[in-house]
């Protein structure tokens, strides 16, 4: 994609976001994919490579859309402003009737991941989130499974008052920033996507070595890629096929390697049963 094509795609995306959803059904235009910090979406160079890869395979322009929070991306999907998004399992389970599961990444051979409780490396005693009472705690995003739902459920299961358990808690709106906050000492603990922490340990070990994984949660369905509910079936199949075949193509494999993933699979809602259970535990519809 050259500069002209990029600008044209940008104009098309803006136009589509402003237009009613039905109006652009006849002219699909570029495929717009929203990203969230369920992976390292601030790696701009990688996103460009992936964008080019998808555009080449789909024979249509592809554009990535970034927003500051999970909620904003979810709302774009729900509002049919974008075609697809890589979201967390938690919002997917909340809105699974208005989103379609496109694909689930496979990590370490499984479409599953864990939530980590991390503490500063100087803290050698804390072994779980329950040891961090009265501390300052960092959550990722209020719509993140690993960065908020899992620790909240853990506290709930322990019979703690979630509102007062921590002296203070805050959101960083990115898993990477949770690691930053704990490494810098702003927070004495934080909940982070295990896949993101593992990937950071490969890419930026100088950062993760300032933290220690105090505990790991049970496995949950890996943050999935979803599409808007009314995406045409042909486009759905084409996009799903391109994603699932990435691990069998050299260029796709290289991209997956950079993502620290094994590949993509169609997945199913059963993978997210644990998330649904936690939602039920916390009374979230």
């Amino acid at each position: 994609m050259d500069r002209r094509e990029f600008l044209e795609a940008g104009v098309a995306i803006s136009t589509r976001m402003l237009m009613p959803s039905r109006a652009w059904a006849a002219d699909p235009g570029p495929l717009v994919i929203g990203t969230t910090p369920v992976f390292l979406d601030d790696e701009v160079a990688f996103l460009r490579e992936w964008q080019e890869y998808l555009a080449e395979r789909l024979q249509r322009p592809v554009a990535f859309v970034h927003r500051g929070t999970y909620r904003e991306i979810s709302e774009l999907v729900l509002g049919e402003k974008i075609d697809a998004a890589w979201v967390c399992g938690f919002p997917y389970m909340r809105f699974h009737d208005r989103m379609r599961l496109l694909a689930v990444p496979t990590y370490q051979g499984k479409p599953l991941y864990r939530s980590y409780v991390i503490v500063p490396s100087s803290d050698t005693k804390s072994a779980s989130i329950l040891d961090l009472r009265g501390k300052i705690y960092a959550f990722s995003d209020p719509d993140s499974n690993s960065g908020w739902l899992v620790p909240q459920a853990e506290l709930q299961r322990g019979g703690n008052d979630r509102a007062t358990f921590f002296r203070k808690s805050f959101f960083t709106y990115a898993h990477r920033r949770v690691v930053d906050a704990v490494a810098a000492g702003v927070a004495q603990g934080g909940s982070v996507d295990g896949y993101v922490w593992d990937t950071l340990q490969i890419l930026h070990p100088e950062l993760t070595q300032k933290t220690r994984v105090a505990s790991k949660s049970q496995e949950f369905g890996f943050p999935p890629l979803v599409v808007r509910a009314n995406l045409p079936a042909a486009e759905f199949r084409q996009l799903q096929d391109v994603l699932v075949r990435m691990q069998s193509v050299q260029a796709g494999l290289a991209l997956l390697h950079k993502l620290n993933l094994d590949g993509f699979q169609p997945g199913s809602d059963q993978l997210f049963g644990g998330i649904a259970a936690n939602m039920h535990l916390l009374g979230i519809a």
Binding site: I136, K168, F170, R177, A184, G185, E206
Partner: protein
């Protein structure tokens, strides 16, 4: 000690010392001024940063977005953060004076009352509590740190918190060292040019003084005529002194010449007095002898008794002259001609004394004495002249003046 050092070194060294002191006197205030300017720049920059942060932090504090506040306060810092934290820190205090967030959370943990974090923070907290809407600058609150406090105000001027900017005074050191290095290089270059110039200039200034000193040093040992000293042309003190010395040298030469003339004149006077004395010692007896001879010629020819009386008078006269002639001849070293004449005129055997024989013998003696007298005078004058030659100057002019003809 300093007084014993030659002006050959003292003047150039003094000029170089003045150059070095001047260079340092210029460089040191400049460095100090640069250091002060660096501090002023830092304060201005920090206050500007503090005001910017204050505005940026307002929504984060209003919405209690701690991480957003942390990202804002760490924005001005270079990465990795740890290296920057040694030089500066930013602490955001809430309205109650507790740490909301800081760039160095390990040193300033969130939610801790700032006043309890040490004596410095306690003083600062007190000052902040009394602070109005204007930023504060604390240069002496901490000996090692420069601290500024900028309030975070809501739209209605309600105080939400305070941004405290803390800078290590070591932050000036690289800039100070850089200024010092630049000043040192400039000063060294200036000195590299001025020091040799100063040395040569000093030598040039000292040169007439050294020439004068060397010439004066020769005065007691060397004859004034042998001292070569070109009088300096300048009108400064050394020029005046040099010209006076040259005049003094000329006076000494003239004095020496006059002294020689006086000695020669005194010796000639002594010769005159000697010859006058000799003449006096000879002339009186000679006059008596001539009178006796004259009387003998007028009356004694007919009276034989006159012969004996005349001879007796002549003998007494000659006896009177003889010691003078012998003394004078000892000066010249010659045997008196009178003695040789007497020896030649005296008969070899015994002979009666006759009037004619005695008269001729006496005349011979007188003639010999007169010749001796003339020679003695001539020899005496020659001997004196020879002695004068000993002290005669070697110059042709003086040699001419001291010729034997004088």
């Amino acid at each position: 000690m300093l007084r014993d050092i030659s002006y050959r070194y003292k003047i150039p060294a003094t000029i170089i010392a003045v150059i070095v002191v001047t260079a340092l006197a210029i460089a040191v205030p400049l460095i100090s001024s640069a250091n002060d300017a660096a501090k002023r720049d830092l304060i201005e920059h920090a206050l500007s940063l503090g005001k910017t942060l204050s505005r940026s932090l307002q929504p984060a504090m209003l919405h209690d977005e701690l991480w957003q506040a942390y990202e804002i306060v760490t924005t001005p810092f270079d990465r990795p953060l740890e290296e920057s934290l040694r030089k500066q820190a930013i602490i955001l205090l809430d309205a109650q004076g507790a740490v909301y967030v800081a760039t160095d959370p390990k040193r300033f943990p969130s939610l801790e009352p700032f006043a309890k974090l040490g004596a410095g923070p306690a003083k600062l907290s007190q000052a902040i509590a009394e602070q109005g809407e204007e930023p504060l600058v604390f240069e002496d609150l901490d000996p090692d740190r420069l601290i500024m406090a900028v309030p975070v105000l809501a739209v209605d001027k309600t105080r939400l918190g305070t941004v405290v900017l803390e800078y290590s005074k070591d932050i000036f050191r690289p800039r100070f060292l850089d200024t010092l290095r630049r000043a040192a290089i400039s000063t060294a270059l200036i000195l590299l040019i001025l020091v040799p110039f100063g040395w040569l200039w000093g030598k040039r200034i000292a040169s007439p003084l050294l020439d004068l000193s060397a010439a004066i040093g020769k005065v007691p040992k060397t004859r004034a005529a042998d001292i070569q000293f070109p009088a300096p042309a300048g009108k400064d003190e050394i020029g005046i002194l040099g010209r006076r010395f040259a005049e003094m040298l000329a006076g000494l030469k003239e004095k020496a010449s006059l002294e020689k003339k006086v000695v020669a004149a005194e010796r000639l006077a002594a010769v005159g007095r000697l010859t006058a004395g000799i003449a006096h010692e000879i002339n009186n007896p000679l006059g008596g002898m001539l009178n006796a001879i004259s009387t003998y010629k007028r009356q004694g020819a007919q009276d034989p008794s006159f012969v004996e009386r005349t001879m007796s008078l002549l003998e007494r006269g000659l006896t009177h002259i003889a010691p003078t002639v012998i003394a004078a001849s000892s000066t010249s070293g010659s045997i008196p001609r009178a003695m040789r004449c007497a020896a030649a005129a005296r008969p070899t055997g015994p002979a009666p004394i006759t009037a004619t024989g005695s008269c001729s013998c006496v005349l011979v003696l007188i003639g010999g004495f007169l010749v001796d007298y003339a020679e003695i005078m001539s020899d005496s004058v020659g001997a004196i002249a020879q002695q004068l030659d000993v002290v005669r100057p070697a110059s042709p002019r003086n040699a001419d003046r001291s010729s034997p003809s004088d």
